[in-house]
C-alpha cells in the first residue's frame, strides 16, 4: 500500500495510476452536495439552542452517513460534525491522515447562519 502524509483536508489524485472506475473513487463534489443538504435539512433556519444542539449534531452525522452508504461504493466512512455558537471565540481545526492517496479522500463543508457555525468533515477510506 502506498502511503503518503497529508495534512489539512486536501485530496490529491495521482492521475498516472488511475485505473479504477468511477465507482471506486472518492468524488468530492458529490460528497459536498450530500453534506450541504444534510446540514440544511437538520439545522437550516434554526437559532443556536443549547438544549437542542446535541440532537442536531447527531441528526447531521446520521443523515450524511445514510446518504453516503446509499451511494453503494466500496468505502468505509467517518463523518464528524462541529456546531459552535457565534460568540466571538476563535476555533481552529486540523486533520492529518495516513492512508492511500490514490483511493482515499476527505471533504469538509463550513456552514453558518446568524447564530452558529457548523463544520462537517467526511473521510472516505477505500476497502
Amino acid at each position: 500500500m502506498r502511503s503518503k502524509w497529508s495534512t489539512g483536508s486536501t485530496f490529491s489524485n495521482n492521475m498516472e495510476e488511475f485505473q479504477t472506475g468511477e465507482e471506486t473513487t472518492f468524488v468530492v463534489d458529490e460528497i459536498s452536495t450530500i453534506i450541504k443538504e444534510s446540514v440544511e435539512g437538520a439545522i437550516g433556519g434554526n437559532a443556536y439552542q443549547h438544549s437542542r444542539v446535541n440532537q442536531w449534531s447527531t441528526n447531521v452525522v446520521e443523515q450524511c452517513l445514510s446518504q453516503l452508504t446509499k451511494l453503494g461504493k466500496p468505502f468505509k466512512y467517518i463523518v464528524t460534525c462541529i456546531i459552535m455558537q457565534k460568540n466571538g471565540a476563535g476555533l481552529q481545526t486540523a486533520s492529518s491522515c495516513f492512508w492511500d492517496n490514490s483511493t482515499d479522500g476527505s471533504c469538509t463543508v463550513r456552514w453558518e447562519n446568524k447564530s452558529m457555525y457548523c463544520i462537517v468533515s467526511v473521510f472516505g477510506l477505500a476497502l
Binding site: 452525522v61 462541529i82 455558537q85 476563535g90 492529518s96 491522515c97 477510506l125
Partner: protein, 115 residues
C-alpha cells in the same frame, strides 16, 4: 507497513492511542495561552505529531487524526461523529484537554487495512 506479517486480526487499542495523544497535546499546548497567531501552527503540529506516534506502533491501520482548539469565551461547542466501518477491527478515541484559556479536542479514527 511492508514488513507487517499478517497473523491474527489486530484491533485498535484506544488506551495506548489516548496516552500518546495526551503527551503530544501537553508538549505543544502545555503552559501556553490561546494565541490567534499561533493556533494554526499548534493544531497542525498536534495532528502531525500524534499521527507520527500512531504510525510508529507499526500496526496495519489507516489513521485519521482530527484536532479542534477553541478559545474559552463562554460559547457553546458540540461535536458528533458517525462511522461506517467494521466494528470488530476499527475504532476511535477522543481526548479532551483544557487549560485556563482554551479547550483542545483530538479525535483519532483507526480503520483496519485488509492485506
Amino acid at each position: 507497513m511492508e514488513d507487517y506479517q499478517p497473523n491474527d486480526e489486530v484491533s485498535f487499542n484506544a488506551d495506548e492511542a489516548s496516552n500518546s495523544v495526551k503527551e503530544c497535546i501537553e508538549s505543544i499546548l502545555g503552559g501556553v495561552d490561546y494565541n490567534q497567531n499561533k493556533v494554526n501552527q499548534w493544531t497542525a503540529s498536534i495532528v502531525e505529531h500524534s499521527l507520527t506516534q500512531l504510525v510508529k506502533q507499526g500496526k496495519p491501520f489507516k489513521y485519521i487524526v482530527n484536532c479542534a482548539v477553541m478559545q474559552k469565551s463562554g460559547a457553546g461547542l458540540h461535536t458528533a461523529n458517525s462511522c461506517y466501518w467494521d466494528t470488530t477491527t476499527d475504532g476511535n478515541c477522543t481526548v479532551r484537554w483544557e487549560n485556563r484559556t482554551m479547550y483542545c479536542v483530538v479525535c483519532v479514527f483507526a480503520v483496519a487495512v485488509t492485506l
